[in-house]
Symmetry: C2
Subunit: 589 residues, 2 copies
């Protein structure tokens, strides 16, 4: 296992991109004298820099800036670190008219000595590290311009943010730009609209998507699969209200810690305060407490596809990825310390089964453990040791190769260690999807107990476990991953039957009926359109199978099948129905 401290690859990329950001600022200040530069960090897959400029930048300005960056790079100036006294640094930036740096130095930094980085004429306030010299930057590209507020506060001045990407080699860059080229076509918001999967309507409020019939079909397939699989694996599914008294979240500590991202409470005339829940844990703990539990009841695995509400700023909402209400595949496992290892293994295996079936392959495991030198933890040393060991051994137990695990020392939350599945989507954006987390805090806060074999009352271990992620997030992922061409079992329409002429509609209906009996989702396209039009439409709808039927097919009881990828075959109707039913039952990709 690797520790986050030596995950060189990501760090090296960050250094490269951070250096490219400096290069960008150097170019902009050369091209636009008087330009003020604010901050310019590396970000996922690239970098940006925020500028305060007299003129408004457009896409057309990017090429000249990029050219200038290349020109500077060709001169290969060094990235020189200069430890500077704070007052001197302020003086330097004041002379340069760089007000934002002056403000940062005056308001945010208290160190007596601060690091500056110089690259030719350009100087920046920066901790580094950087590449040795600009010549190392061989593969970068500026991508777009956007507005951004200074310090992300809309009461401040609006700056112009220039985004770029940088990679170790031109090949890497090309590959990424190719991906970006597909981004527009793969974009789940666009496909969601085109394929009529979901709808964003201002009248419901932003971040509250409406699932249209086709999208609802996908959700239904996913949700039933999840629930059935969890039931088969010994989970107890429950349905709990999406609200609770605010007091419950005061007791659990959620209100204190997270109220900024919670919805404002609903206040009734009689003083009642109800809160739309930010997470399902407290409700599942009430299920646990619905009767006196004994060691014989454990492990108790309480599961739900539960609706959660989070207050995301409207500027941060995006399609199905960032929403204000979402349905989480969630479970809370209550067990004894002895059962912990087995429960973690079970949760990881379920996660891997879900991901494998869906075709989620690009992910790594992040194991967050506590910083032993710090003391800000809930729970005893013994409990932490048991939990961390259980998590580590579970990863080994299911045969995860070391290079797929990143260990974050000191990255655990105060209430327990965890494993996250860090998934990269079709656009190489990383997000946390599945998670297995031990919690020492909540059982204590709500006083969970069980009667142990010796008759004493003990506190169960609690594991938060998301094996699928949120339905919204994962659907967005799948839309982009498959560019809307879902595996058959998830396709809203699985077969379109196209009669060659009007006289073949009758046989097309028989085909429809036969496929329906095999529980397939099928549609006869009996519009008064030319056959070519129908084939194109079915193709654009990403329907996995098109069954063309004419006189010959009717006579022989067959269908002429076009699959995606243009595979064609003539098949017996029964055989076709059975083959598809099997493909669906096995959830093949």
């Amino acid at each position: 296992m690797r520790s986050i401290a030596d995950h060189e690859s990501r760090d090296a990329l960050d250094v490269l991109r951070h250096s490219a950001a400096h290069l960008l600022a150097a170019a902009v200040t050369q091209l636009y004298p008087g330009a003020k530069y604010a901050i310019g960090p590396p970000v996922e897959n690239g970098f940006y820099y925020d500028f305060d400029l007299d003129r408004t930048l457009t896409e057309a300005d990017l090429q000249p800036i990029e050219d200038r960056m290349r020109q500077i790079a060709s001169e290969d100036p060094a990235y020189e670190r200069v430890e500077t006294r704070r007052e001197e640094a302020i003086e330097t930036f004041r002379n340069l008219g760089q007000d934002y740096k002056v403000e940062l130095l005056e308001k945010d930094i208290t160190d007596d000595v601060v690091p500056l980085y110089r690259t030719g004429d350009f100087v920046d306030l920066c901790r580094g590290p950087h590449v040795h010299s600009a010549g190392e930057l061989k593969a970068f590209k500026l991508l777009r311009v956007a507005g951004a507020y200074w310090r992300a506060n809309e009461k401040n001045r609006q700056l112009q943010r220039v985004y770029g990407t940088a990679w170790p080699t031109p090949q890497d860059l090309d590959e990424y730009l190719q991906l970006l080229g597909q981004a527009e076509q793969r974009d789940h918001k666009r496909l969601g609209r085109e394929l009529k999967l979901f709808l964003l309507d201002e009248r419901t409020g932003t971040g509250l998507p409406i699932w249209l019939p086709a999208g609802t079909t996908i959700r239904r397939e996913l949700e039933r699969w999840i629930v059935d699989e969890e039931l088969a694996r010994g989970y107890s599914h429950v349905i709990t209200p999406h609200l609770a008294k605010l007091d419950l979240y005061r007791q659990t500590g959620h209100w204190e810690l997270y109220h900024d991202s919670m919805f404002p409470p609903i206040e009734f005339e009689d003083g009642l305060e109800l809160e739309l829940r930010p997470m399902n844990c407290p409700h599942h703990m009430l299920v646990y407490q619905s009767e006196l539990r004994s060691y014989r009841d454990l492990p108790l695995r309480v599961a739900e596809i539960g609706r959660n509400y989070r207050y995301e700023k409207s500027g941060e909402l995006m399609g199905l990825v960032r929403v204000r209400a979402f349905d989480l595949n969630d479970a809370h496992i209550f067990c004894t310390p002895q059962q912990l290892h087995g429960e973690i293994v079970g949760a990881l295996e379920l996660s891997r089964y879900f991901m494998r079936t869906l075709g989620v392959e690009d992910y790594y495991y992040r194991l967050s453990v506590r910083d032993r030198s710090s003391g800000k933890w809930i729970g005893s040393d013994d409990e932490w040791d048991t939990a961390e060991r259980a998590l580590r051994e579970a990863l080994v137990g299911i045969g995860v190769p070391d290079d797929q695990v990143v260990v974050g020392e000191g990255e655990a939350a105060f209430y327990g260690p965890k494993i996250d599945f860090q998934v990269r989507d079709a656009m190489r954006r990383e997000f946390t999807n599945n998670t297995v987390q031990v919690d020492f805090n909540l059982p204590q806060r709500l006083g969970l107990e069980y009667v142990a074999e010796d008759g004493t009352r003990k506190r169960p271990v609690m594991v938060h476990r998301g094996a699928f992620g949120s339905i919204e997030r994962m659907t967005a992922y799948l839309i982009e991953q498959y560019s809307g061409a879902f595996p058959t079992w998830l396709s809203p329409v699985q077969v379109v039957v196209v009669p060659i002429k009007t006289e073949h509609v009758e046989y097309a209906r028989r085909v429809e009926e036969r496929l329906r009996k095999a529980r397939l989702r099928v549609r006869v396209d009996d519009r008064q359109e030319r056959m070519q039009r129908k084939l194109v439409d079915a193709h654009e709808e990403r329907v996995p199978y098109i069954a063309v039927v004419g006189g010959r097919e009717a006579e022989a009881g067959q269908v002429s099948v076009t699959a995606r990828g243009d595979a064609r075959s003539v098949e017996d109707l029964d055989g076709f129905a059975e083959r598809l039913a099997l493909e669906v039952a096995e959830r093949r990709r």
Copy 2:
């Protein structure tokens, strides 16, 4: 079809019960001189009267009062109507010390002449009608005492309410009392607790039940069945957010009309007001408007099991029957006027299919039409005529006998006529469950349109349709209807396998596995308990089948089956599995 104006049976019962209420007040004033009587109406299945008394009545007082009622009845005094001048009536009640009647006459009644009813010494302010004489009251019983505020206002004085029931014959009374005797055992709150179906926990807030694993299983079976059946019948299922901007409900008129029973809005810092929806209609209309609709798209049947929020007073909340959040089987059909009849028939047939399968048999249809003499209606005469005719003809069309329909002239809402299924539960309490309602208001308010065959824009007809009712209400009904002994397909556990001795556990596991493969919900009871204990426990859990297995069964590959109602049989394991799978697939009762 009968009109509500001549629904004699209910009226006759009301007259009988109203007369019994007078008899009760007569008895109380004789027994407790100085007793003041407030109001005493007939109610469902009985009557009550509110008294202001110096002493507190207990259950022990009911028998003496009832005896006195019988004594008065045996003297057979007439119910004599006396038209009296208002001032004179006030004088009469003032002399009797009947302050509540005086207040009613002074504050609520403006008529110059008011009707009084005299029964022996007793006199009441009352519109009647009544029975001719008290001797007609042959079958009544007092049931309980409760507190009640004068004019239902808690700021007023608390009175003592005596409840009773009255029926035409002693046989009717006995039958009803028998039902009442079972009430406690059938009560869904009690069974919900005992069978661990759902949980009411103050920490979530009243009226927000938590569905425990067993109850969730029932819901899941019901919900999947509903969705699959609706999909097969051409409905488009959607999933829409449970919130919308308050403005949407201002536009639809819901906020203006219903804000008292809506949740208070959630107010965000940036001025956003979100409202937990009281109904699904507006969201389904947004689905309709998600693209330009043409006549070819119609009928469009938008369906959802949608969560709704209603602010019910905390005193009115009860188990699953009256809650603050519930899931409604809801659909909105958008169609042309020509399609209306067929759509109503379809909706009624679906309702009847659901009710028949669930064993809901005691209901009648209430057809609410407009009062033609009034003008307070939205929509044209033509539209109303079409809609009312479509509703009437649909009832005829599906072969509903006339005596199962009650027509309510002038009972329609301002926005359209409707048919309600008036269902009586196991305790003979009537409630509105399914409904088919035409709406002329909302399509106009949100400007719904479709492109007609001639290219013009037209307004679709909108039908609100609930074919199942709310999941919560119907589950409460089913719990009481079946006293918790659900049909096999709905039973949380369908088979308990009981090994005779420890050595038979292995075969019991094989039985379990075989039944699981047939998708049955099965549990092996391998506790260290005596067999008799296990049988009793399974019986109390209302498990439909108990499979006892010992050496003989293991050897022969059989199971010894005890079904509810004590039917016993020895069956081949495979045959048993197949028989049960079929029973479940056919949703037999």
